[in-house]
């Protein structure tokens, strides 16, 4: 679960990391009222998960209630522009009104998980305010890393070493080990996969302040912090995730593409391989769909409807590796699902294995579906049917 900036900053504050004075507002009216109650120099920032807010004009200055209102209005009027990862863009539901800092320096500090080292890793640079990928390209020597031994955890020398190795401005030095420690505490206590402060601002009056906040929490650890349920509910799911949730599959188990060959398989690895097989056979994929364990009639039906009603699929390729389930049972489930569905009918190509797989294929053929023996054969058949 990715947190919005204002949520991340709330966690920072709890951990003792200084953040700018701010108010979270859901409407231009609320922004106007807040600035009226607290005159000053403010920044109005779109609360979205997508990056590139500045370039998209979604961060604006405001020095009066009226300016605040129109800034918020302009920001919220249009969604974030689409990019490759979010082809639909992202609607803006709220803004953060934040004190304008007199920034002297911008640094970067993050903790993430290194899969190979199997350790949390600090990444610090004296260059902040831009993507760390950009820093890595332009100033690779400025990046300092520290792999934390989880048996020991954080100790202040880590912050000192990072500050010296990244050559942070002297103004950061005294405060940095405590900030790094607080960030590690947050990372650890809330089960985060990423915590990022970019920029970590040094103000002209010598304060070190987290000017932005990016926090990704581990969904599998959320049960330990039921307090986040509300945030989770408030978070913007993209359309695919909403559809998946409605169909009763995991929000990561469904994703749409522009093609016309619908796919479904059991297991993420097999589902990806199924997509690849369709693409290799010259087809255009309509979706990724991992049906998960147990392909009973109810589940097959909701998955079928998910694809048929929400993608451009003109054929549906079901690829089930039975493993320890019986092929005839799966086949009966598929047939039952297709009898029950009220959605439009498209041709089904089905590959299934497992005990009694031959009986299964017979059941499918009898019901007018196209059983195949292998994944490759199924992919080819599905592409053939789609291109008719």
């Amino acid at each position: 679960m990715n947190l919005l900036e204002h949520q991340g900053k709330e966690l920072f504050e709890r951990a003792g990391i200084a953040v700018p004075r701010a108010a979270h507002a859901a409407t231009p009216d609320a922004v106007e009222r807040f600035i009226a109650s607290a005159p000053g120099q403010w920044v109005v920032k779109a609360q979205v998960l997508m990056g590139g807010r500045g370039k998209a004009g979604k961060i604006k200055m405001a020095s009066s209630p009226n300016e605040g209102r129109s800034a918020a209005h302009e920001i919220m009027a249009t969604p974030m522009p689409p990019n490759r990862q979010n082809p639909a863009g992202e609607p803006i539901r709220s803004v953060l009104v934040e004190e304008r800092l007199a920034i002297a320096q911008e640094a970067y500090c993050a903790i993430t998980i290194d899969r190979t080292a199997r350790k949390p890793v600090f990444v610090v640079s004296r260059f902040g305010g831009m993507d760390i990928e950009e820093v890595a390209e332009r100033h690779p020597e400025s990046i300092a890393k520290f792999y934390v031994d989880t048996a020991i955890g954080y100790s202040p020398f880590i912050g000192r070493e990072l500050a010296f190795a990244a050559k942070l401005d002297r103004g950061y030095r005294k405060q940095f080990p405590a900030i790094a420690g607080a960030l590690y505490g947050l990372f650890f206590d809330y089960g985060a996969k990423l915590v990022e402060i970019n920029p970590l601002a040094l103000t002209s009056d010598g304060r070190v302040i987290a000017s932005d906040a990016k926090v990704e929490l581990d969904d599998d650890a959320l049960f330990r912090n039921p307090e986040f349920d509300e945030w989770r509910k408030a978070l913007p799911l993209d359309e695919d995730e909403i559809l998946a949730a409605q169909a009763g599959v995991g929000i990561r188990n469904f994703r749409r593409f522009p093609g016309n060959v619908g796919t479904m398989a059991n297991g993420a690895g097999l589902a990806m391989a199924t997509m690849d097989a369709v693409a290799d056979a010259g087809g255009a994929i309509a979706n990724f769909l991992d049906v998960g364990g147990g392909a009973n009639a109810q589940r097959v039906r909701s998955c079928y409807e998910l694809v048929v009603n929400n993608t451009g699929a003109t054929v549906f390729f079901i690829n089930i590796f039975g493993g320890i389930t019986r092929g005839d049972e799966v086949a009966r489930g598929v047939v039952e699902a297709m009898q029950q569905t009220t959605s439009r009918k498209i041709p089904l190509v089905i590959r299934l294995t497992g005990t009694n797989e031959e009986e299964g294929r017979k059941i499918l053929a009898d019901a007018g579906m196209t059983p195949v023996e292998t994944m490759d054969e199924g992919a080819r058949e599905a592409v053939r049917l789609a291109s008719r």
Binding site: R118, G191, D220, R224, G269, L270, M272, A273, M275
Partner: protein, 292 residues
Amino acid sequence: MSIFLDKNSKVIVQGITGSEGSYHTERMVKYGTNIVGGVTPGKGGQKTPQGLPVFDTVKEAVDATGATHTCIFVPPPFAADALYEAHDAGITLAACITEGVPVHDMLEVVGTTAGMRIIGPNCPGLVSPGKALVGIMPGHVFKEGPIGLMSRSDTLTYEVVDLLSRAGLGQSTCVGVGGDPIIGTTFVECLREFKNDAQTRALVLCGEIGGSDEEDAAAFIAEHLPELPVVAFIGGRNAPPGKSLGHAGAIISGAFGTPESKIAAFAAAGVPVAQRPSEIPQLVAERLAVRA
């Protein structure tokens, strides 16, 4: 021979009286695995339907049976505790089937349980065909033979094994390493073991987009396994960047983790990458024939 697991490995099941634990215990016993008992706190002294003793703690189970291996079926909040308990009791290999273990739990566990090999979590377990099966894999698709296999996914593994077995290419040991970001045993660690296994004469590596396990494996192969035939497969070549597909592992971020980077790494190591699972048996057979 085989790696990690053989006919004599004494295996217990943590969570043996739970629904998953009892179901798969029955299957493992039927496969021929040397299951010597199980653990469910508070049910010590009972017997399973197979007549296996149930213990209150892993320590008691180990003391009574000499178990060295464990198969863990407990809900995600208790998986780390189960692993710590196994480690403390002197277990040397733990296959953690549980899906949804918090990633920080695994960071802590892998950093503090030296001496115990962990397979998984979020994995289907491992099989040394003809000898023993630990986990939830479908035993009937496996066949004993010279191919070592390691894989990040489950059903895809069964698919590949099925293809190999049908092509007459039996397996030494098949390891489902698990789909989570932090796993106990990576491809490289499997390779290190297979390197010393006399039975294994070729390897199949089923990777996925995301992470850098495949790149690390390719580098290891180039350096340490120049002689052993290896065939790779990368699932998810058509996945979009920045989005998780299914389990947590399959996400591309940055330059690493893309199918291109993985395929290039294998190419550099002289490892052919199958375009489709169905190509794998042929590629393996060719490489084995060249060596023979």
